[in-house]
């Protein structure tokens, strides 16, 4: 059991700047929970409060059902991987990994055993005597991971650990982290501003904006049923198209509930219509193709419609030339509806 519960947590800096107000959050035991949101949304602060590196201004933090507000970071049975790795520059790889074990008074024999095992897992066996400065970014990342893993913690905290790696290595490390989570079955709390990272790794996504949880659910639900306009536009690439109901009304052949104020749809759900076809129960609009981006398996277009620019994408279909005219149709069931407060309208 290593469930983390934040009850009515508030964090204020310098008595004025409130970053997080009355936050309630439950991170399930064994989950891979990703805290995601734009810069300054408070996600790193939450992680640091779980680690015990930032004191809570108000509220309670529970790990395993025990209040840990006053428990020191070293006594919380957690390990953390930092964005810039935070490896001890004057110690060797082995020294870095061993430091926490020595402080926890693990006997030498046990230490050696654990280090050998971990280093084989993460592929560091031949670098044990090197200093961090002599390693590549990916290798340093592995040392940071090994340093966390070797402690067998109940909770792993990760603060944007992949942001300093190049795209290819990031993809590889992403799969390795998913594997690692499966193997260790510990609770992972992962902070990122990259929604792709969040969606691909998480079992639970907690989407934050200005210190407030916008939605906490599985990645699938967050994508399929965004709880509000912010979530709808933050998750998904390219971002969801969103228009005011009154602007699109002339092109709408579907019946919508009264309180719907905004209509959103994913770029992949705006489908080109063949000549002569007249889709019903949908939003159908014609326009001129402005730009075309070939992404490999898909092509992303920007279309100038009478009510604004629509982004849409096609998969392995024939190319549309810039400046050509296209009619797009969005089925009623592909629409996301929001009220005047920006909240999802459930049907």
């Amino acid at each position: 059991m290593s469930e983390i519960v934040l009850k009515d947590v508030t964090k204020t800096y310098d008595k004025r700047n409130t970053v997080i107000q009355n936050l309630d959050l439950r991170i399930e035991d064994g989950s891979f929970t990703v805290l995601v949101g734009p810069s300054g949304c408070g996600k790193s602060t939450i992680l640091r409060m779980i680690a015990g590196l930032e004191p809570l201004t108000a509220g309670e933090m529970l790990i395993d059902g025990k209040v840990v507000n006053e428990v020191k970071p070293g006594d919380r049975d957690i390990a953390m991987v930092f964005q810039n790795y935070a490896l001890y520059p004057t110690m060797t790889v082995k020294g870095n990994i061993e430091f926490g074990l020595i402080n926890n008074k693990i006997p030498k024999k046990e230490r050696e055993h654990r280090i050998t095992e971990i280093c084989e897992t993460v592929g560091l066996a031949e670098y044990l005597d090197r200093k961090p400065a002599q390693l590549s970014g990916g290798q340093r990342q592995r040392v940071a991971l090994a340093r966390a893993m070797v402690k067998n913690p109940k909770v792993f905290l990760m603060d944007e650990p992949l942001s300093n790696l190049d795209a290819k290595l990031r993809g590889q490390m992403r799969s390795e982290l998913i594997d690692l989570h499966r193997k260790l079955s510990a609770t992972f709390v992962y902070v990122t501003h990259d929604q792709t990272e969040a969606m691909s790794m998480a079992t639970n996504v907690v989407l934050l904006d200005r210190g407030v949880i916008q939605q906490a659910d599985t990645p699938f639900e967050v994508y399929q049923k965004p709880a509000n306009v912010f979530t709808a536009q933050f998750i998904g690439s390219p971002t969801m198209n969103l228009f005011c109901r009154k602007d699109v009304a002339p092109y709408l052949t579907a019946q919508l509930p009264e309180k719907v104020h905004k209509i959103g749809f994913r770029p992949s759900r705006a489908l080109p219509v063949a000549d002569g076809e007249q889709p019903q129960n949908s939003l159908t609009v014609s326009g001129k193709v402005l730009t075309r981006e070939l992404m490999g398996s898909e092509i992303i277009y920007r279309l100038l419609s009478p009510f604004g620019i629509i982004t849409f994408k096609t998969f392995n279909e024939e190319e549309l030339a810039p400046d050509s005219s296209v009619t797009l149709s969005i089925d009623r069931h592909s629409m996301h509806l929001f009220d005047s407060d920006g909240q999802r309208v459930e049907e």
């Binding site: 810039n84 001890y88 520059p89 430091f99 402080n103």
Partner: protein
């Protein structure tokens, strides 16, 4: 144009070299002269016959060994004590938030601006009231702390990434261990420089032993060398300079070992 600027630079460097090197050379040259040669006009740049026995003479004329031991005891004690006091103080100023920190740090820095000549009288009275004149303590205790050292180390400690400290705390390291295992190894050049500057300052110190001693019991080498001026035959410049050469040797040797660290401390403070 480049040639002119290069020539200008070289000339400037030469002048600087002369300004700093000449007194040193003059000490060395005089140390090998005879008393007569030190008096001639115009002064001779080189001794006609290098007098190696001047050095032997210095050691015989004054209780050189006694002064040397006193110098070693006071200097090493001051260096060690300063490390004991400045490291924790600098760490606290750099890493902890506590009430009155800016004020305390400001007060610490202000002590650097008070000239020694202002405080020697109160200090002398204080030590004499405690019957501590002519003891090692009187030469060591006034230097047990160093505002400059606290300032210099704090600057270095401030540059240590916050994440390292946090990682260590998550690794359950005690504060002492964090200082010892993480901050000090990262601050080695600054520590070496600080130790060396303290060493030189204390080793060469003439003023404080002069004020706080009234007899030879704990007097150090710089004062010991000066006692030779009391000789009836006038000031034996050649012996004084030979004594000074002997005093300079440890500093030069230590500098040769540590100069890489010193240059590092003052030119490049970043560690990746």
């Amino acid at each position: 144009m480049k040639i002119f600027s290069n020539i200008g630079k070289t000339i400037c460097n030469l002048i600087l070299l002369l300004v700093f090197f000449f007194p040193f050379y003059w000490m060395l040259s005089t140390a090998f002269k005879t008393l007569g040669e030190t008096m001639t006009f115009p002064p001779a740049l080189f001794p006609a016959n290098p007098q190696w026995e001047n050095f032997l003479h210095v050691i015989e004329v004054i209780p050189f060994g006694h002064y040397l031991i006193n110098s070693c005891i006071t200097t090493i004690a001051v260096v060690v004590l300063q490390m004991f006091t400045t490291i924790p103080a600098a760490y606290a100023f750099s890493q902890y938030d506590f009430k009155g920190k800016p004020l305390l740090f400001g007060l610490t820095l202000i002590t650097m601006m008070i000239p020694a000549q202002l405080v020697f009288m109160p200090l002398f009275i204080l030590f004499s009231q405690f019957n501590m004149i002519n003891t090692y303590a009187s030469l060591i205790l006034p230097f047990a702390g160093s505002a400059f050292g606290i300032f210099l180390l704090r600057q270095r400690f401030n540059q240590v990434p916050k994440e390292l400290l946090e990682a260590a705390r998550l690794d359950k390291a005690s504060e002492l261990k964090i200082i010892w295992k993480i901050f000090l190894p990262l601050s080695r050049p600054v520590l070496v420089t600080l130790a060396l500057l303290t060493f030189i300052g204390k080793w060469n110190d003439y003023f404080w032993p002069l004020v706080l001693t009234t007899n030879d019991t704990v007097r150090t080498l710089p004062m010991g060398i000066v006692t030779m001026t009391n000789a009836e035959s006038g000031t034996p410049y050649h012996l004084l300079m030979a004594g000074n050469v002997l005093i300079s040797i440890p500093i030069i040797v230590i500098y040769l070992f540590a100069h890489k660290h010193i240059i590092k401390a003052f030119t490049y403070m970043g560690d990746k």
